[in-house]
Amino acid sequence: MLFQLLVTGLVVGSIYALVALGFVLIYKASDCINFSQGEFLLVGAYVSLTLVAAYDVPFLLAVGLTLCLAVVLGVLVERLVLRPFIGEPVISVIMATIGLSSLMRGIIQLFWGTETRVFPAIFPQEPVAVGGAVVSQVYLWSLALAVLLLIILSLFFKFTTTGIVMRAVADDQQAALSMGISVKKVFAITWAIAAVVAAVGGVLLGNINGVNSSLAHLGLKVLPVAILGGLDSVPGAIIGGFFIGVLENLAGGYLDPVLGGGVKEVFPFVILVVILLIRPYGLFGKEIIERV
């Protein structure tokens, strides 16, 4: 039981990590949290599903097209919605992304309705045995992808010019501006990357048991992950994802029978409160929070 819960937690955590990565990227560059991350995920899932199921596009090509669309969507959203809020108070930015999530949710519902849709089986459905515990293969793929993305993004931030520029903007916007860096362009790139990461998460999640609007709730559910890892730390998001995944599964496994179900949903938030009170900047975040 314990081992099975640990394994399940780890693989579920890999998906949390993927989604949390989107939060972290945007926070890193623009100091704001994207409350519509869940909807970005949903768009990715639905678009790839429609391409595969309705237009018979090969899966990999469909994923490629979805990612291209995610880039366009990310840039578009940044340009139309977020740009007017550069330098505005936090509450405006928060509300803008909340409004955006509502807007996107409505549009998604207009296009795809609210019913569950399923992917044609792409990953093998048979479970894999890992030392006595069983894991469904989709989860293993997401684990691999999360690790891959982590490596790619770390290298990207470390070695490419764009990555360095993004770090510079995250560090100090004014200094970056005075170095001739276009902050607006960096924001656009950030949103594009975040949208891509969310879309990848959406495609993977959609392959587990199908797609419906409840996937978008993951956007909020993953907040504790991002906070635990530190809102501005890429490795933090990954480790936080695994940590929360394992913890909530253990809590679900052992506390659910006692408390009557649903512990899994609330447990991450209890952890969240504890983290906020003890270490608001998270495990790996920079300690720049202003103390009152």
Partner: protein
């Protein structure tokens, strides 16, 4: 400043269009009765098209609308057209109460076709006070208390009865000397919890061993922890009280994790959509079926076929929940018909209570209401998914 003027203008334009539209909508409604000789009968509808149970609620609402269209095309009821004023309440009890108030206070409907257990139970006192005959998609045992809910009618066997019938079937087909281990999979809503207590009582009385309660969300896309728990506790049978989506998720995750429990779903957890969503994982799944499938050859299906043909649709495009909505509306309108010109809540109630072994043309078990009991039927059929299709394994059976 330039933008701002534009923005203010836009806002004003939107508001004025909405206002004008609201006014026009009213006029159109008011103009309608002049075509008829008698005033139309107004029936309210509180349906779930996009909420937690939208997967089964949408075809149900379609079926209800379809039957009313069909009746109107046949000249209506006692020479009156039927006007269905329906809204989507998104499986939100508060919204249901709001819509109920609107239907009763503003639209002045005489009867209502409702939907969920939670909202119907929450409304039952108010319904009794307003004297609105109410047939909802909920077959909760809690709505059968004739003193508390004199205006609620249940067209099919209650959820508790359905669970009892399923367990009786298990007992009749159980060959081992050990006690059968049974688990319950449900969602945390009044709908999900409705039959659980009664079912457990029945299980204990009939020598079952209850091993687990699993709570799965209606829109869940993951039930790994829950099915693993079933596996660990070695449940032989699990009764599912949920809708298509929840059921498909449970079945799929059970297959992925090598769980061998035999799942049995009550009414809303068993329809073609489960098979469509779960694919292979649905093989061997057993459903409790109180209403007919569209592919069955029963007399009542002819009218549905005729209606669909007039709309350019085919029987293959609808599912069992459509039939269920059609059939429930048929029962409601039969009550209206028997009320004659006494189109009050009491009149329709009396009309419904005069139904005895009312034949829906094989679309459901015969429906009987009396002033003492609004339990329309106690019988269902069980069906097993074989080669991607529900095949009946019993005839109409009760548990007694």
């Amino acid at each position: 400043m330039r933008y701002k003027a534009l923005w203010v203008a836009l806002l004003c334009a939107f508001l004025s269009v909405a206002l004008v539209a609201a006014g026009c909508g009213k006029k159109k409604e008011a103009a309608a009765p002049t075509h008829e000789t008698k005033e139309p009968v107004k029936i309210g509808g509180i349906f779930d098209l996009t909420g937690g149970t939208g997967d089964v609620g949408e075809p149900y609402a379609k079926g209800a609308n379809a039957y009313i269209d069909y009746i109107n095309s046949k000249g209506g009821i006692n020479g009156r057209q039927v006007d269905l004023i329906d809204f989507d309440y998104k499986y939100d009890k508060t919204k249901a109460v709001e819509i109920y108030n609107k239907l009763v206070k503003q639209d002045k409907v005489t009867a209502i076709l409702g939907w969920g257990t939670g909202d119907t139970e929450a409304l039952k006192q108010i319904i009794a006070g307003d004297k609105i005959p109410y047939i909802s998609g909920s077959y909760s045992e809690g709505l059968l208390d004739i003193n508390q809910c004199p205006y609620n009618f249940l067209v099919a066997a209650s959820y508790s009865d359905q669970a009892r019938i399923a367990m009786k079937w298990i007992k009749d087909n159980w060959n081992s000397s050990e006690k059968p281990k049974i688990a319950f999979v449900f969602n945390d809503t009044p709908f999900g919890r409705s039959p659980i207590d009664d079912a457990k009582k029945f299980a204990v009385e009939n020598g079952f061993e209850i091993v687990a309660d699993e709570v799965v969300d209606l829109k869940a896309l993951d039930a790994t922890t829950q099915v693993l728990d079933l596996k660990q506790k070695k449940a032989d049978f699990a009764i599912i009280q949920g809708t298509s989506n929840l059921t498909a998720t449970v079945l799929k995750d059970a297959k992925k994790n090598g769980v061998t429990t035999q799942f049995i779903g009550l009414n809303w957890a068993a329809d073609e959509k489960v098979i469509q969503l779960a694919g292979d994982a649905a093989e061997g799944y057993i459903g409790v079926i109180p209403f007919a499938f569209p592919y069955e050859d029963v007399p009542g299906m002819a009218a549905i076929k005729e209606y669909l043909a007039s709309q350019g649709e085919k029987l293959e495009e609808i599912n069992q929940k459509f039939v269920q909505g059609w059939c429930s509306t048929m029962v409601m309108l039969e009550g209206v018909k028997r009320a004659g010109d006494n189109l009050t809540g009491e009149g329709i109630k009396a009309g419904l209570e005069s139904l005895s072994e009312f034949d829906t043309g094989g679309l459901s078990a015969p429906v009987t209401f009396t002033p003492e009991s609004h339990r329309g039927s106690e019988k269902v059929r069980l069906a097993k998914v074989t080669n991607g299709k529900f095949e009946y394994i019993t005839d109409w059976v009760g548990y007694k």
